[in-house]
């Protein structure tokens, strides 16, 4: 039992944080808790500190909105936080869609779907194209384009304020990730993930690979939702410096040889 807990320590921590954040928001809406009000798009922390989604603010800017000081400060705080801890920490530690896509990924592994289709027929750069596209469409239509379709917003808003037909969107993402493309939504399409990949490019907390300890079992690559960032595994002792790493810690806990661990950044650029 302790071994199981130890082997899933980051997964459990992530779920606790994801769920308690959602609970705080739900409490803010239903029971009037004053800890976190609003939702992941914009919220008020402890009745004083504004927080807002920097990507939504960016779309507002492109849409031509007059952006209030409140939103600017909130977006700045959030950006600064993720700039320090790793942009895509949002993806694996906060975003509720992560629970859905992780579940699809888990099922994929258990059902052996990864063995049937080893190579994914898509480019991970797609998310940057979607990112640019959402800014272009925001500019053309004068609305926050991604916010109008975002399954992330639909999910967290649904949890906090009521779902409507939002469950269909969640189901589609689940099936897409399960049957069509491994890690399809989070790893290929989501422009918010793309945005945070850029934000977290120089973050302080990084996974470190200790090559001499590695037995090249490749369990880490099997579980990693962004396996391209682990290119150095079994080759070189290096830190995982790609901004696309979500700092989820799956590789750290799955490694039986203590060859992967969280560490503080020691170098600036990715060598690859």
């Amino acid at each position: 039992m302790t071994k199981f807990l130890f082997k899933h320590r980051f997964l459990i921590a992530r779920r606790i944080i994801q769920i308690s954040l959602m609970l705080l928001y739900v409490g803010g809406n239903i029971w009037g808790w004053m800890i976190l009000q609003g939702n992941l798009s914009a919220s008020l922390f402890l009745k004083a500190i504004p927080l807002s989604d920097p990507f939504a603010a960016l779309q507002m800017f492109f849409a031509g909105a007059v952006i209030s000081a409140n939103i600017i400060v909130g977006a700045f705080i959030v950006t600064l936080f993720y700039f320090a801890v790793g942009g895509r920490v949002f993806c694996s530690w906060v975003c509720p869609v992560n629970i859905i896509t992780d579940m699809a990924n888990y099922l994929r592994r258990k059902l052996g779907l990864n063995q049937i289709e080893k190579k994914q027929p898509a480019s991970r750069n797609m998310r940057y194209y979607v990112l640019v596209l959402s800014l272009i469409l925001s500019y053309i239509f004068g609305v926050t384009a991604f916010e109008l379709v975002s399954p992330i917003s639909v999910t967290h808003r649904g949890i906090i304020f009521g779902l409507g037909f939002g469950w269909a969107m969640m189901l589609v993402i689940f099936l897409f990730d399960l049957l069509i493309l491994k890690n399809g939504w989070c790893g290929y399409i989501c422009p918010l993930g793309g945005f945070y990949s850029v934000v977290g490019k120089f973050s302080l907390i990084r996974v470190n690979h200790d090559e001499p300890k590695c037995t090249v079992c490749m369990k880490c690559k099997e579980v990693c939702p962004e396996s391209q960032v682990l290119w150095m595994v079994g080759k070189q002792s290096l830190q995982v410096l790609s901004g696309e790493c979500t700092n989820c810690g799956r590789c750290v806990e799955v490694c039986d040889d203590d060859a992967l661990n969280f560490s503080l950044r020691t170098q600036i650029g990715d060598k690859k």
Binding site: A42, A56, S123, Y129, L133, A145, G164, F165
Partner: protein, 260 residues
């Protein structure tokens, strides 16, 4: 041989194609989702176009609303996703004097200034919509005394007043017809909620839809404020040159007829 160059060209073409396809579907959806103008926004909301730009969809106005009037659009509502709106027949706006929904807005999509008078919040300034009466299905227009909407109105005798007229059909009764004054109506929808007919005969529509527009060239000469529009305008006398020929001459003018 498949060169890197060919791969690169194919990759780029694919990316462009996918972007175009995605963009097309995406813009079709945005166009559709933002086309619905028949929705009522919280007090102090900017004009619909600016509102869609500015609202960050955080739901803090919804949390602040004590009556659960405001809701966020979910998939299936056919409204721009995540934006706040209300349906008065279900739950109208009860016009809280402290307007809790507006100051909490972090993005300024709900504008405090538009619901303030002399720097103090005043919900009577709100312009969420405008009540419209379907006179054919309003029983007060049939001659039945109802006045449910009139009594429900928070700005009674201002936003809705009763017009008395003789009921010629019976010869001895009066019509008590409700009339909405768009200068005062806030669009709270308490009248729509109170209406006794099966489907409300008085209902709130967005002001852009319910109101006409006269245009600048009509000036009410009998109103000082309106008349001031023309104060700065200057009159100009123009003269048209009058032809010296007699009108009859034009009949005898053979020019151009017999030339050939």
């Amino acid at each position: 041989m498949i060169s890197d160059r060919r791969k690169f060209i194919l990759g780029s073409a694919r990316a462009v194609g996918l972007m175009a396809l995605g963009g097309l579907v995406w813009s079709a959806y945005i166009d559709e989702a933002t086309a619905s103008k028949l929705l009522l926004r919280p007090p102090g909301a900017l004009s619909e176009n600016d509102f869609l730009k500015t609202c960050i969809k955080c739901g803090m106005c919804v949390e602040a609303c004590p009556y659960e009037t405001l809701v966020l659009a979910t998939p299936g509502d056919n409204k721009p996703l995540g934006t706040p709106f209300f349906e008065p027949r279900k739950v109208p706006c009860y016009m809280c004097p402290d307007i809790p929904c507006v100051p909490v807005c972090p993005s300024g999509a709900l504008d405090i200034k538009s619901v303030s008078k002399n720097d103090k919040l005043d919900i009577d300034m709100a312009k969420m919509g405008l009540a419209v009466i379907d006179a054919k299905n309003c029983i007060a227009f049939w001659g039945i005394q109802c006045d449910a909407c009139y009594r429900a109105c928070p700005l009674l005798d201002k936003a809705i007043y009763l017009e008395y007229s003789k009921n010629e059909r019976t010869g001895k009764h009066a019509f008590l017809k409700p009339v909405v004054d768009s200068d005062f109506c806030t669009g709270c929808g308490l009248c729509e909620r109170a209406c006794v007919t099966k489907k409300a005969a008085i209902f709130v529509l967005p002001r852009e839809i319910a109101l006409g527009e006269v245009g600048g060239h009509y000036v009410k000469g009998w109103e000082k404020a309106d008349e001031s529009q023309v104060d700065s305008s200057k009159s100009q006398i123009t003269t048209t040159k009058i032809s010296k020929e007699k009108p009859v001459d034009s009949l005898n003018d053979m020019k151009g007829l017999l030339d050939d």
